[in-house]
Amino acid sequence: MKTIRIILTLLAVLGLGQAVWAQAEKGTVLIKNGTVLTVTKGTLTETDVLIREGKIVQIGKGIAAPQGVNVIDATGLYVMPGIIDAHSHIALDQINEGTNSITPEVNTGDALNPFEVEIYRALAGGCTVSHALHGSANSIGGQSQTIKHRWGTYDPNALKMEGAPRTIKFALGENPTGHGRRDGTQPQTRMGVEFVIRKAFSEAREYMAKWDAYNKAKAVKGFRGAPPAYSLRMETLADILKGNIIVHCHSYRADEIQMLLRVCKDFGVTKVVFQHTNEGFKVAPEIAAAGAMASVFSDWWQYKLEVYYSTAYNAAILARNGVVTSINSDSPDLIRHLYHEAGKTQKYGGLSDDEALALITINPAKQLGVESRLGSLEVGKDGDVAIFKNHPLSIYGVPQYTLVDGIVRFDRAKDAADQRLMVDPKQTVDVTMYENGHGYDFCMSGAEFLFEEESKENK
């Protein structure tokens, strides 16, 4: 074992292993003397965190810095797990396939853009990991990629969080029905949304049965016959039914949330996370009983009919009813201050510091199936850390350093104005944009031809 490691190290030194290593650069660093908000194991004052080769190896007082290791002096600062956003569309060149009500064959992992400056800006808000979700134009959208904000890489694949479970986007309500109405296709109603999802699952069951029969027959000596036609669409749906993919379902109204719970129950799908979930508070007991989870906005409402009956107390009601809840951004602005969004649950529902911090750390980690590696400061977990001046739930909290896999990817003291990795030659210098991006969800990006007025494109 030791020999293998030595050989690997030698290979790396010689540059032979570079291609592999470049994809997951890992750092060693000692964070000294901070107030450590572990989220899961309480708050530790004047405590050190040692990260070695991208993993947290020790948390305690008075850890001596190994020779040659970088030290960050966190005296007077707050050290928390890297913030995780379970609903984002940054670092994506494309968001919506939307050419059919069912497109599980596509994957946002194929549309990653490591040059988007929004990755850096997310880091400047302490956010180290996001869920690059497909859009919500169709009922079953594309598979989605969990990414680490490894700003600086030119390799799209290096953003992918290795080993993160597969996820897929579903969408209910106004977005898929609006899309259907404009296209003249199903679904155009919430009845239709349920139907297209049931139909897809049913067809996938038939597909699986055909392949099972074929594989069984093939095992018998002397079998002659052709295999069933291969379909990536059906393969993906089958993987959902087998529990290999976590469903992340864009939803607003209580009735449609219950609808999907029923459908999932009927088809044995258990890994379900509701996204937006603005009326989740109305059916919190049902969501909790089904073991489903919810990822919500802190306070957005009013931007369309299906969010009209929202309340900023949503996250607190869901949490108090036992639903694993996260606060997400769905916005290149909000992703930069999720700590503040989480803080709003203290105003709206009186959550404790640890409960509020869990909404942007361990809970989204659970929703992405990466809680064994992320979401809290514990020995053995990834070295994804955000270091704040002032408490992160305070309005005066300002991120100072953000580390991904033990590498400092944001350092406020060294922040230069222009952080672009590559200048787009088509971009004219003096053309500016100004809007905060609040007031609509970004889920319809790429499908904005549907809205003449409210169109917004994914840059």
Binding site: A124, Y309, T432, K459
Partner: protein, 437 residues
């Protein structure tokens, strides 16, 4: 006798129960004389008073300080451990105009036409809009309601967020909105080329100048004839008070080039009463804005930078940099669309976290907007004689977790209730829960 008593008792109990139920379902604002005692009073203009008392009577603040005699009959609210602030003023809202986004029937902020200053927000404001209680129980007591759209999309109104008619809400100020010709992109969906943008801006500026010159002529004719010799011309009639300096011109301008052009235009046209709004790239022109002595209403502060190559915190830092250069700065939330004007103190808080002194940021959402809009004699601070717009809370109002416990608008004690709080009460422990029986 005994029986009669019982009947009276039952009637009394019934009446009480009825009153309680009625209150619980739709509580009303309450006028009266109130004494807020033992509070830390953030007067904004006259420092912080520890262990202070504020007396509210007949809609006005009648006393502020320590050793204040509580008037007979006053309702005393012990604010021990709490703070009192003047009501916050959000100078960037669509309150009452926009009920639900994406539903044309539920939005009234955008009329057809490029030159329509005669369209008044006051006309279309719905005093019963759902967003009004949501906003005011957070301590935002006053809002500038802005129409939007073309070059001159209408006349904005300043409203106090309590009342059943727009007149009851009127806070004494209207202003004509000008969207200054814009060389920047309006947003992610604006796909015009740079050339197209430039041409559109030039054309708009020519139109603006034409309108302005015409308005001057109209004003002269109107003055010369005592208002009798002019034809019905609603656009010009709406512009005349602006020409005369009786009404403010609120210029929405954001990109650096446009700010430069607007500074030049205001100077050339000698616009008398003017403020800039938005001013996202104000930090690039801070010295020149200060030199021109034009006040600004900056925001949203919690927003992404206007350019890809700008520092990530450009918008957070903008109000502080403007102030540092000597510009008079108000902060607005402009959280239109998602209905979150209640987040105004957080915009000021972010400005503070990224460099603006805290007292300046607090002024930027209280006294400074009042001064800019010309209503500082009534609003924006806790001083004797001012309108009793104020609120009580349990900490620093910029801090996210701070809870507002009492709000007064025009001296009325406001019910601390909105649809969002009602939903919380109903659904925190839903009944029936999972099972009905």
């Amino acid at each position: 006798m005994k029986k009669t008593l019982t009947i009276y008792g039952m009637i009394a109990a019934f009446v009480c129960a009825w009153v309680i139920v009625a209150e619980a379902q739709s509580p009303k604002g309450k006028p009266g004389t109130f004494a807020l005692t033992n509070a830390t009073v953030e007067t904004v203009t006259k420092g912080t008073i520890a262990n202070g008392t504020v007396i509210i009577s007949n809609g006005k603040i009648t006393a502020v300080g320590t050793n204040i005699q509580v008037p007979a009959g006053a309702e005393v609210i012990n604010c021990n451990g709490k703070k009192i602030y003047p009501g916050m003023i959000d100078t960037g809202t669509k309150l009452g105009l926009l009920e639900i986004g994406q539903i044309p029937q539920a939005t009234d902020e955008r009329e057809l036409g490029e030159i329509i200053p005669q369209m008044r927000a006051m006309t279309a404001v719905n005093p019963n809009a759902t967003a009004i209680p949501v906003t005011r129980i957070a301590g935002v007591t006053t809002a500038l309601v802005l129409p939007e759209g073309g070059l001159l999309p209408g006349t904005a109104a300043l409203l106090n967020l309590h009342g059943y008619t727009p007149d009851q809400m009127y806070a004494g100020m209207e202003g004509v909105v000008l969207n200054f010709p814009n060389t920047g992109r309006r947003g992610f969906g604006d796909r015009r080329t740079e050339d197209e943008l430039k041409k559109a801006a030039e054309k708009a500026l020519a139109t603006l100048n034409e309108v302005w010159d015409k308005a001057i002529q109209y004003h002269k004719l109107d003055s010369a004839t005592g208002g009798k010799g002019v034809a019905y011309y609603p656009e010009m009639q709406a512009m005349v008070p602006v020409i005369r300096g009786e009404r403010m011109l609120l210029i929405e301008v954001n990109a650096q080039k446009d700010i430069q052009a607007a500074l030049k235009w205001v100077k050339e046209k000698k616009v008398k009463k003017v403020a800039f709004m938005g001013v996202a790239e104000g930090w690039r022109e801070a010295e020149n804005i200060a030199k021109a002595n034009i006040p600004v209403i900056a925001g949203p502060v919690i927003a992404i930078p206007t350019r890809e190559y700008d520092r990530y915190d450009a918008q957070y830092a903008n109000p502080g940099l403007l102030r540092q250069a000597g510009v008079k700065v108000a902060i607005r939330s402009n959280e239109e669309g998602n209905g979150n004007y209640r987040n105004l103190p957080y915009h000021a808080g972010f400005a503070t976290a990224y460099g603006m002194p805290r007292e300046e940021a607090l002024k930027a959402i209280t006294i400074v907007p009042a001064e800019i809009l010309g209503v500082a004699d009534k609003l924006g601070s806790i001083e004797v004689g001012k309108t009793a717009n104020l609120f009580v809370c349990d900490g620093d109002i910029f801090e996210t977790k701070t809870q507002v416990s009492h709000v007064f608008i025009d001296g009325w004690m406001i019910p601390m209730q909105s649809r969002q709080t009602l939903l919380y009460e109903e659904f925190l422990k839903r009944e029936p829960g999972l099972t009905k029986h």
